[in-house]
Every structure is written in structure tokens, then in C-alpha cells.
Symmetry: C2
Subunit: 216 residues, 2 copies
């Protein structure tokens, strides 16, 4: 499981913390105001009150120890960029920042964010795609046990066809597409031969994927 | 394609309008302030300036003619509930409202919203699920041509097995799961026999799905 640092417990930060905790991850929450954290404190692995634009406070968090650091302060451009940039300087491995407009997105990416999330834009796009089309569903959410993910072919599959390996029955995975040289080839035929340089995009359940990982 | 009414051109409303337009839908935008709409006016099918808590203004929009009506006013609880409720009274077919906190979500659903979107919560949950797990990807976004959606078996498939129908090669669709009585059965075997009362969750590209629809 992962260790996650979440700075800024607004609405986005709070739901982020709750979901990471629900999924069994170790979460540390930080906010300058204690009130935002009261409900979460019994659930979080660690909690700290402090202003993260203060370098001493930020230093004390041990940011480089976390798998992922989040900066969830959308409404203050300067603060969020400052904190994002400092986290990177302190050796944070992966920094995800929340933006509240496109300009904000741009500057965060230029100043240390490995990834930026802009909730209004993301959920508006998703809603339009889903409602614009007949019956389109966000399948991943239908079945929390069912994953769609990217993985490499097993060594023992290289040179064999999908049919020969019999991935569906032998391994419980469904190959949706094959990615090679950044190109995606959908619904590969059963005669497709596995190659070392490709990535498989598969649908599978957690149990089967875990046992697949154990076979690597 | 669909006809969409979007009331409230804040950030969520703006990206919603842009994406629906990009996907070829007919969009009417409404806001009490003209500035929010200037960039969109050349692209939208229709635009109106007006306060939608004013019943005359709301009446003039012809809400019942649209496939979907959106109320994208997150920061004013009363206004968004008022407008949502009025739209339903005016015969709107499907009303989607934006909420900015859980209480807001609850009241919107109780007062006319067929569906509520809470961007901060939705994108926080999605980010946590994706980053909590190794390699999990939001596959739908990888390939905008590739859809995951729900559909019925064709009449001519009923009573036959997946293998007999040869859905993958003959129809270009990949059956991820079968839904029956609200239960989801993942990765159905090739021997599964199609029944009239089930829903198929499939992965396919737009072209193949369109031709599938034409065979119904
Ligand atoms: N310098 C700081 N150090 C620590 N926490 C901070 C700092 N500045 C703001 N915060 C906290 O971050 C949280 C989120 O901030 P803010 O409300 O500005 O962001 P937001 O993105 O608009 O929030 P939401 O997720 O609700 O949309 C607040 O609880 C606030 O107390
Ligand atoms: N009564 C009204 N009639 C028409 N438009 C309105 C009305 N009230 C608010 N609006 C418009 O709705 C838009 C969005 O409102 P507001 O900023 O309150 O929502 P928001 O959900 O916080 O926005 P965002 O999508 O940016 O997060 C604004 O452009 C505003 O002018």
C-alpha cells in the first residue's frame, strides 16, 4: 500500500484522504486550520496543523518519505505554487496539485507538479462524454473489484499468440488493447503474437491480477 | 446527437458546453452575466442572458424541448435548487445539477435533479483509486475512439453462446461483463448463452457500435 501526504483539507483534500484511507493506504493530513481536519484525525495515520508556506513546517513533514504528495489548495495561486515547488525541492517523489483554472494548471506543471487535477474541467468533460453518447458508462466505477490497467506480457507469453496462451481462461484477464510505440491497437485478434516491447491494456479482477503479478 | 441546455457558465458550465459542442451536440447556454459567455457564443447553437430565478426568463427557454438540462450554479444553494425544481415543473426531461457539498447534493436530488455532479468529490475519488493502485488507468480517456458501454444482446444472439455468435470477430465488440438482476458477472466464458434479460457491458470503438445499433 502507499504512503500519502495531503496538504490542504478543503473538500477535494478531504474526499481524497477518505478514499485513500478506505483503500488501505497510509495518509498524513496537513492544514493550517484544525477544524478542517477534526473528522479525519481519528482515521488518518498522522495529522499536522501548520502553514505550509512556512519552510520549517514543510521541512518537518518528511515529504521525501511519501509515495505521493498532494497540494490541494485551489483558491490561492501563489500558495499552491509555492508549496508545490518547495515539495519538489525537498525531494518529494511525486507531487499532485489541484488547480482551479487553466492558467493555474500551466504554472503548477511548470513549477514542480508531476500532475495537476482540475476537478471542474475533469468532471465536466467526463459528464459530457458520458451523457452525449447512448449508454456510455464509467465502467471502472460499476464494479470496484474490476480493474482496467496496463501491464507487460509475461516472459513465457513472448512469441506465442493470444489464443495459444489462452489468457482469458488460464489467467482471467481480458485484453482490451495493445500499446506499442505509443499507438493503441484495439481488440487484438486471437492470432496476435505477444512481443517484448508492448504493453497490454487489460480488464481483470484484483485477485487474478495479483496472481498474475506473482507469476512475473 | 443531443440538444442540451446549460444554465450557469462558470468553469464547470463552460467546459461542459465546450465538450458537448466538440462532440457534435446542440448547446444552448444561459447566464445572468454576459461576460461568462463571450468566448462560447460563436460556438453555441443559442445563448441567452438572464436571471433564471425569474420565472419569465426560465419559461422562455423551452426547457422541455431539450434532451438534458444542466444547472451549473454551485455556490448558491437556494438559486440552484430553485432553478432545478422549476425546470422539472416546466417538464424538463432530464435535469443534471452541480453541487458543491454533500448537503447540497442531497437537497438537489430531493428537489428535481435526476442526477447530481459534485466535481471535487468525484475527481478526488477517481484520483485516489487511480493512484492507490499500480498502473490503473482511466482507459476511456486513453483512447477517445474506444468506448465502454452497456447494451442489449441482439435478438439473433438470444439462445446462442458468445463463441457461436463470435462477437469479437463478427461484431468488433469485447464483452467485459454481463449484468443481470443488478449483479455483474465479469469475464463471461465463451460458452455463456445470451439471454433476453441481460445487459452486456462491452468495449468497442464507435464505428462498430454504430453498426451494431443499426442491426437492432
Ligand atoms: N499555507 C497553507 N498551509 C496549510 N494549509 C493551507 C494553506 N493555505 C490554505 N490551506 C488549507 O487548504 C484547504 C483548501 O484551501 P482552499 O479552500 O483555498 O482550496 P480549494 O481548492 O478552493 O478547496 P476545495 O477543495 O474545497 O475546492 C483549506 O482547508 C485551507 O485551510
Ligand atoms: N440566477 C441565475 N441565473 C443565471 N445564471 C446565474 C444565476 N446565478 C448564477 N448564475 C451564473 O452561474 C455561473 C456559475 O455560478 P457560480 O460561480 O455560483 O457557480 P460555481 O459552481 O461556483 O462555478 P464553477 O463552475 O466555476 O465552480 C456564473 O457565471 C453566474 O453568473
Amino acid at each position: 500500500k502507499k504512503s500519502v501526504l495531503i496538504i490542504g483539507i478543503g473538500r477535494f483534500g478531504k474526499y481524497l484522504a477518505l478514499k485513500f484511507i478506505e483503500l488501505g493506504n497510509e495518509v498524513m493530513i496537513v492544514d493550517k486550520s484544525e477544524d478542517t481536519m477534526t473528522d479525519l484525525i481519528p482515521l488518518a495515520a498522522n495529522a499536522q496543523i501548520g502553514d505550509c508556506t512556512n519552510l520549517e513546517v514543510l521541512n518537518s513533514l518528511g515529504a521525501s518519505n511519501f509515495d505521493i504528495c498532494f497540494v490541494c489548495i485551489g483558491s490561492n495561486f501563489q500558495t499552491s505554487i509555492e508549496i508545490t515547488s518547495q515539495l519538489k525541492d525537498l525531494g518529494a517523489k511525486y507531487v499532485v496539485a489541484k488547480a482551479d483554472r487553466e492558467l493555474h494548471e500551466k504554472f503548477l506543471l511548470r513549477n514542480g507538479a508531476d500532475e495537476v487535477i482540475f476537478p471542474e474541467k475533469e468532471s465536466a468533460n467526463k459528464a459530457a462524454v458520458r451523457l452525449s453518447s447512448q449508454n456510455i458508462i464509467d465502467f471502472i466505477e460499476l464494479s470496484p473489484e474490476y480493474y482496467i490497467l496496463e501491464t507487460n506480457p509475461l516472459e513465457q507469453w513472448i512469441g506465442k499468440t493470444i489464443a495459444e496462451v489462452d489468457v482469458r481462461d488460464k489467467y482471467g484477464i481480458n485484453i482490451l488493447a495493445i500499446k506499442r510505440d505509443n499507438q493503441i491497437h484495439q481488440l487484438p485478434s486471437a492470432k496476435h503474437v505477444f512481443r517484448k516491447d508492448e504493453q497490454l491494456i487489460v480488464a481483470t479482477n484484483k485477485t487474478d491480477f495479483d496472481s498474475l503479478l506473482n507469476k512475473k
